[in-house]
């Protein structure tokens, strides 16, 4: 219900922002906001700079994402600014509802674990859209600074820190003649479940290299369908962690609104095996 209200409010806002729309990148070529706030797919940051600003422009967007997981719920909200199609600054706040597991851990039913993520991404070379005569992808380097709000609690499950940096290198190519987008991201991280369970652990306590991949098919210029895969560390003794997988459809009916719907398989999360989820996200551009 809350979500519906948000969508309604969102669509009202969009009619207003349309009046001063001045961002000229093509639909969906700024990606959507991934869970940690960077432009990408749902799970993975891409090399694309978010927002629809071209090299002469500044684009921005805000997003609301809800992941309804078998035994949990994750809400991620945030915003990003894309500056001259070169630099992207992003912010996301994640709130992870532990529901029954909160009770089991003695935190109380529905206890929420929270973290903030500040991101910066810089495009290094290539242009995923324009350079159709080259195999070189667009390549970007990014950093996500993650800060947990409940250091004491995540330490009690074995995490070693309440703040950490993720570093990643992403390569994205749109094969326009084939209507396909492909992305590979390499990430050095010590975050447990994105950082929702803190950073580093009693099993492994250093950055490790993870691989993330996305492939999307551009059904029309407004609709893309795709799959994503993301490997994750396994730092904690008490709560093993699995790679994530999703299948998504992203729809941009116009420049300043997009919606993403996905099925995501999240594997083991704390005490619960085989967690699957429904991912819904709305993004508003300015």
């Amino acid at each position: 219900m809350k979500f519906m209200k948000f969508v309604l409010a969102a669509s009202l806002v969009s009619f207003n922002v349309q009046a001063f729309e001045s961002s000229d990148k093509l639909l969906l070529t700024g990606g959507v906001n991934q869970l940690e706030g960077s432009a990408g797919g749902g799970l993975t940051p891409w090399a694309l700079i978010g927002g629809y600003g071209t090299q002469e422009q500044i684009g921005a967007n805000a997003f609301y994402t809800n992941v309804a997981i078998s035994d949990y719920n994750l809400v991620s909200t945030g915003a990003l600014v894309g500056i001259h199609d070169r630099v992207e600054l992003s912010y996301a706040h994640q709130s992870f509802d532990t529901k029954d597991v909160g009770t089991a851990l003695g935190l109380g039913y529905g206890f929420k674990l929270k973290q903030s993520i500040f991101g910066i991404k810089v495009k290094l070379i290539g242009d995923a859209v324009l350079d159709q005569d080259s195999w070189l992808p667009q390549i970007a380097f990014g950093i996500q600074y993650k800060k947990h709000e409940q250091g004491k609690i995540v330490r009690s499950v074995g995490a070693k820190d309440d703040k950490s940096f993720d570093f990643y290198l992403a390569g994205t190519k749109i094969f326009l003649a084939q209507s396909i987008l492909a992305n590979v991201t390499l990430r050095a991280t010590e975050a447990n479940q994105l950082g929702i369970l803190g950073y580093g652990g009693d099993r492994i306590n250093h950055h490790q290299l993870m691989i993330e991949g996305s492939v999307a098919y551009l059904l029309t210029r407004k609709i893309a369908v795709g799959v994503e895969y993301r490997t994750k560390p396994n730092n904690l003794n008490v709560a093993s962690e699995d790679a994530w997988f999703d299948a998504f459809v992203a729809w941009a009916p116009m420049k300043n609104v997009s919606a993403t719907l996905a099925y995501a398989y999240l594997g083991n999360i704390v005490l619960n095996q085989d967690q699957s989820s429904l991912y819904t996200s709305i993004q508003l551009g300015f």
Binding site: D24, K25, L26, T54, Q55, E56, Q57, D85, V129, L130, D131, Q132, D133, S134, F175, L176, A177, Q178, S179, I180, V215, Y217, L218, L219, T220, R221, V227, A247
Partner: protein
């Protein structure tokens, strides 16, 4: 995994397809002429692109665009216009103008129900020309 494999099969089969299917999907010369006519209408209406084309020889540009698109898609035409660098030099065309033109072309192709796959094949041919058009 199955989906992933399907993507790659699709991908591979597209790379090696080198035929006139895109040219035909765009309606050959007759279809291209309709699309380009509508493109010019759009260019003259849009605030971002209008000032470039108002005073230009619109009839000639349309004619040359049809030749160019036809040739790029392997059709039986010869492009007789000027080079892209020559015809866009000194016009101060920015990325935003370039993408605006692409968007207006997409809208013109949408109007004529050109399938998205064929649209993207044409755009893939045109996109690299940005090097001779933007900021020249």
């Amino acid at each position: 995994m199955k989906i992933l494999i399907a993507f790659f099969v699709l991908f591979a089969s597209n790379i090696f397809a080198n035929d006139l299917s895109t040219y035909k999907a765009l309606g050959e010369e007759v279809g291209l002429t309709k699309v380009v006519d509508d493109l010019m209408v759009n260019l003259l209406k849009d605030e971002r692109t209008k000032r470039f084309f108002e005073k230009a020889d619109q009839k000639r540009i349309k004619e040359k665009l049809v030749e160019q698109f036809c040739m790029e898609l392997g059709g039986p035409c010869k492009y007789t216009g000027q080079s892209m660098s020559r015809s866009h030099k000194g016009q101060d065309i920015k990325h935003s103008h370039f993408f605006a033109l692409v968007e207006l072309l997409q809208q013109a192709m949408d109007k004529h129900k050109i399938p998205s796959t064929a649209q993207n094949k044409l755009l893939a041919k045109l996109a690299p020309m940005h090097k001779d058009i933007i900021n020249k």
